[in-house]
Symmetry: none
Subunit: 214 residues, 4 copies
DNA sequence: CATGAATGAGGATTCATTCAT
DNA sequence: TATGAATGAATCCTCATTCAT
């Protein structure tokens, strides 16, 4: 595996696309789409400009590939988490498992992706639509369904599920964006764990019916 | 040829910067900083490119002016809201007044501004720092102080105030960003009022101590 | 009018398009469309690359403009020559006036234009169509009509007019192309006048009926 | 895996250069040298880009090879035609045999070659020189010699032989170029045979002395 | 001999910025 | 003060050429 000869280039057709996408994700996320130079993307991926065009027809298509490829694992992660609950599970338990899942989700690349999509939605309407349909609707159904279930089972106070999703996910989204945008300038630094803990306390108290409740 | 109203030119001259800033705000917000052409900014402001350079030394300074000028009224609005509470006011009342203020705040240009700053923070570190110090710290102090006060007065459950601010502001931030980013692709549309209402219910339930509480 | 100060650039909106077209004509003709660099076109026109784009949206449109603008005066020249004959004029006189017109036509930019259109017709189908319809059809009608007239009046031998046009124009076309393509490598140089003279002799002898003819 | 016919590879190897040259000829002719991509040449020849470089050091040399290889058979064809005449043959008979040869010559690849050389002469001076010296001079000597002979034998009117060659070959050249350039856009289509017939009539009438001639 | 992934110089195009008017 | 023609550096993209396989 040691590269004895420093050859001018390597032939690595299989690995290239992912390497380029990763590099592009980093730069698009840091600087935005327009402000990212393809030269820099290529350099970060360890190839030259021309190679990028071997795998993606142009910068816009590279962007779309970046979003699509980066979204997939996040969707999968989310659905996996949801699949764990059985019929017997108490709704409050599901809610708690969501709060326990939040920290790692907030620390994942999902935050950078969210920032990127927010920043470029205006220039890439089909990416925006794709994001809404594939990511947000799905998350809404997942979280909304869980809240609906809790209400129907008499475990939760009767609130508007769709709105509750925004209340539930909002703090997580803000924290994600915060981390990739402002965290460097903040002092003292926030604690993601503490935020999730507090969110949990408030929601358990505000959403879950207690025995004495009417 | 006789200039019947010489003051009109005068007034125009004074109005120019704001007109240009407004146009730039619109375009920067829609397309991002890099993807916005100065030609388009000028056209939207009803002037020509050259005129922009009469008031702003370059595109970057125009951007900074846009952020600064747009931030100010929002800060003022926020502080005005907070100034209304007196010592006698119950903390829950202050909390409720915040929730009542949210819908108009969410509908204000603050959402577009937030999106813009998030998108460009990586390219404008001093804007990011300025935003954190002038806007976020201030909001945190305001909201955090209010929560702290409630806890100290025994009106709120003892939670981490800094984290609670994220929980409180997160849903508002998400809704603001949603409106300027994805609302066009969403169906059925969300209701800002309903979200604020739900947020209020959950928070009152989760944060405010009831008589029987330990 | 004397340019006392060697200013960085002149503002010459009116004159620019023609200057650029002339420069482009020269280079496209010498090197072909693809092999001509816009930088060189601009330099030859005394402007910079950016200026070219002020007047033409891209290289292809510049090419089309070059062809269109260069064709027009040639068409006009041709039609003017034809308009001189009256009903009373003998067909042989018209024929002679054409041969007398040939040398100056062959020396005009029409030759370079013809070469350019031949070379690029494959890449610019609409230019090819435009050339056939606007230039060639017109020339064919003009020359063909003249021959037809001579035949009908009994002045010429009965030949196929459309074919005769090729026979008549062929030598002129070849000489035009020769001049802009091979003349530099030829020794001894050809004499355009002598070719036209010879053409005249052969055609007068071969086309015009003599008294004794059947 | 056993190569049943090892000779097929061998034969392929020998056939390659011609296949590549043919493909290049087609594309260079259609699009011009600069606008033809080596990728396309290779694809049309049924090989990959790398293989082209096995046989030709670079694109320019491929071009030169294309011209050289394509010219040779045309020269041969021409000389074969000329070799048929003996001392006894009447000059008018030779002239007629030339006109009878024209249609097949016009339909041959010579037209495309002529177009290509005209288009690229400016970029390939040595090709232009080669063409003038090897092709044109030869043709001029052949045709010019024939006319000279006719004049000396008193069979033709005394015209300038060099000029007469242009008159004789011009219509053929124009028709050749026409076919490869504009024929697709022309309506009604021209008849090559009719043009040659008309050319023959005019030239016999204009060049050949009749008994009664002074 | 043949391939095709990778290269990188070169060229079309854009656009922030300048400046004569 | 305002204009907009002109600039030229920066950037996307192409494609002839190389070379590991």
């Amino acid at each position: 595996m040691a590269q004895s000869a420093p050859t001018r280039w390597q032939r690595r057709k299989e690995a290239r696309p992912k390497e380029i996408i990763d590099a592009a994700f980093t730069l698009f996320t840091e600087r935005g789409f327009s402000a990212s130079r393809l030269d820099e993307v290529a350099a970060l991926a360890g190839v030259t400009k021309g190679t990028v065009y071997l795998y993606f027809p142009n910068k816009e298509e590279l962007f779309k590939a970046v979003v699509r490829e980066t979204i997939l694992p996040n969707i999968a992660q989310f659905e996996a988490m949801a699949a764990q609950a059985s019929d017997a599970t108490a709704s409050v338990e599901i809610l708690l498992s969501i709060f326990r899942f939040f920290p790692q989700f907030i620390a994942s690349p999902a935050g950078a992706l969210l920032k990127l999509v927010i920043a470029e939605a205006g220039n890439f309407p089909d990416i925006a639509r794709f994001f809404v349909e594939e990511v947000i609707q799905r998350a809404r159904q997942l979280l909304g369904g869980m809240i609906q279930r809790g209400i129907e089972r008499g475990e939760f106070h009767p609130v508007d599920p769709a709105s509750a999703v925004f209340c539930l996910f909002g703090p997580a989204a803000l924290t994600m964006l915060w981390r990739v945008t402002f965290a460097a300038y903040d002092d003292p630094a926030i604690s993601v764990d503490r935020i999730c803990q507090t969110l949990s306390e408030i929601f358990i108290g505000g959403l879950v019916r207690r025995d004495g409740d009417a």
